[in-house]
């Protein structure tokens, strides 16, 4: 399983970012936006069918976040902490291995 490239940042920010509500909403810790889990904005969630995947990397290339990483065998891994559910990966996938489904929370 691939690891989030933000893992070290998240741990650092959790440790060092004590005061979020600064006067004037000044952000004083570089990279601190990683604690903002934008995945909570999502309505549709990408559903992945590994059997159909040809490992073309198009989803990985097009994901604007990026919320798609590659595992050891170069299959995509979805980071649902930051995936906003934009659907670009599903749109680009040539084999329909990714489909967007409404997420029930």
């Amino acid at each position: 399983m691939a690891e989030s490239p933000f893992k070290a940042d998240i741990e650092r920010v959790k440790k060092e970012y004590s005061e979020k509500m600064t006067p004037g909403a000044v952000v004083y810790l570089p990279g601190s936006s990683v604690i903002n889990k934008t995945g909570s904005w999502r309505v549709f969630i990408p559903e992945f069918n590994k059997d159909k995947c040809v490992r073309c990397f198009l989803c990985y290339t097009y994901c604007p976040e990026p919320a798609i990483y590659l595992d050891d065998e170069s299959y995509p891994v979805f980071d649902y902490d930051y995936c906003k559910g934009c659907g670009i990966c599903a749109n680009e996938c040539p084999t329909k291995a990714i489909v967007m489904v409404r997420e029930v929370k």
Binding site: K20, M21, T22, P23, G24, A25, V26, V27, P30
Partner: protein
């Protein structure tokens, strides 16, 4: 101790220089122009190393001050009427970003019809921008106000911008003696700014202009509200310290004049209160029990001080050199609101005076006193809002 005979505008310029302002960004507008001309003259003469940023509009002037202030500099500007209105968006920016910028606004009537004369509606229309507002009665208060405003604005628990407001021409272009303390004493009173964050501390980089989702925005507004409340304390402390150092006490947000035994009090802001105090002296000699309450700080609003005054008087004649269309004079509206949930219920009447520079005289105050006495004695308020000077 240096005493100079200066206009209100020059008093403002000297105060900016003596406050060791680092950046001025401004755009000229009558009757403010001579403030920034004087500052330019200080720089040209080598008397001051202020960085002067000539800009193409008031919106840009405030934007440049915001940028300067975010780098940790002490920033100053001045404007009037239409110029202030054009700055409106940036005024919210300055307070929301918690930048202690100080600005002098020369109260001038809004167009149309064009007018360059005194009227408080320009600054009062910026009531809700999160700026503190101080209304000066005379040139000395313009000078003192600027020095105090920086100290209050830069206080670590306040961090909000402040506006010092003077009357068009009545103060801005009229010369009077202004006492200016020695620079080293001013430096002791107002040491260099200690910003919480600066854009130029490259070892500790920051981002400004963040987005706050509905999950956080609310709390940021609450913090500004609390800072404005805290500013009341700071204003009184700073005003007291100013008095101890320089002999002019500003520890009261409302200056009371002969109100101890007064039945009727005239309440207002700015230069017209000089006329009112003069009138109080005249009326007192004729046996009237009247006093004056000069609201120095309109934001934060001195609610507690108003209550203390209101519970001991029978009538308050509010003198509004401003008007909120569809409602009433703005100070009157605010003052009534403050007293609604209290046991202080003096009869209050709103006199719309001096708008657009209409002369307001001692005789006028006397007429108001007689009108107010009649109302207090009969207990009957004929009308809430009186367009006092109207040609009938």
């Amino acid at each position: 101790m240096v005493k100079k005979v200066v206009s209100g505008n020059y008093a403002a310029a000297y105060a900016a220089k003596h406050a060791r302002v680092e950046v001025v960004a401004a755009y000229p507008i009558t009757p403010q122009t001579s403030i920034i001309e004087k500052i330019a003259e200080f720089i040209a003469n080598g008397e001051s190393d202020i960085q002067y940023v000539p800009v193409e509009s008031e919106h840009s002037a405030m934007a440049a001050c915001i940028g300067a202030s975010a780098t940790g500099a002490r920033a100053f500007t001045a404007t009037s009427a239409q110029g202030l209105a054009l700055m409106h968006e940036m005024l919210h920016w300055a307070s929301g970003a918690r930048l202690p910028i100080v600005m002098v606004d020369v109260n001038r009537a809004m167009a149309p019809p064009w007018s360059v004369w005194d009227d408080q509606t320009d600054s009062l229309a910026q009531r809700d921008t999160g700026w503190m507002q101080f209304y000066a009665e005379n040139n000395q208060e313009v000078y003192d106000g600027v020095l105090m405003a920086f100290k209050v604005a830069e206080h670590k628990d306040v961090q909000l911008p402040a506006m010092i407001i003077e009357s068009a021409f009545i103060l801005s272009h009229t010369y009077a003696i202004v006492d200016m303390p020695p620079q080293e004493e001013i430096d002791e009173f107002l040491p260099p700014r200690k910003p919480l964050y600066t854009l130029t501390d490259f070892d500790n980089p920051i981002a400004v202009g963040a987005l706050a989702t509905p999950a956080d925005y609310y709390e940021f507004r609450y913090k500004i509200a609390k800072a404005m409340e805290k500013a009341k304390e700071v204003i009184k402390e700073v005003g007291k310290e100013f008095g101890e150092r320089f002999g002019r006490d500003y520890s009261q947000m409302i200056e009371l004049y002969k109100t101890e035994d007064a039945d009727i009090v005239f309440m207002g802001m700015g230069s017209l209160m000089g006329t009112v105090k003069e009138a109080v002296d005249v009326l007192r000699r004729e046996g009237y029990k009247v006093g004056a309450a000069k609201v120095r700080w309109f934001r934060p609003f001195p609610s507690e001080e108003l209550y203390e005054l209101a519970k001991n008087v029978q009538g308050i004649a509010v003198l509004d050199r401003n008007f909120s269309f569809g409602q009433e004079g703005i100070l009157f509206n605010e003052a009534k609101g403050v007293l609604y949930n209290t046991d202080a219920k003096p009869i209050m009447k709103d006199y719309i005076v001096g708008i657009g520079g209409r002369d307001f005289t001692v005789e006028d105050v006397k007429k108001i006193a007689n009108d107010m006495l009649k109302i207090v004695e009969s207990g009957k308020l004929d009308e809430e809002v009186d367009w006092f000077h109207l040609k009938r």
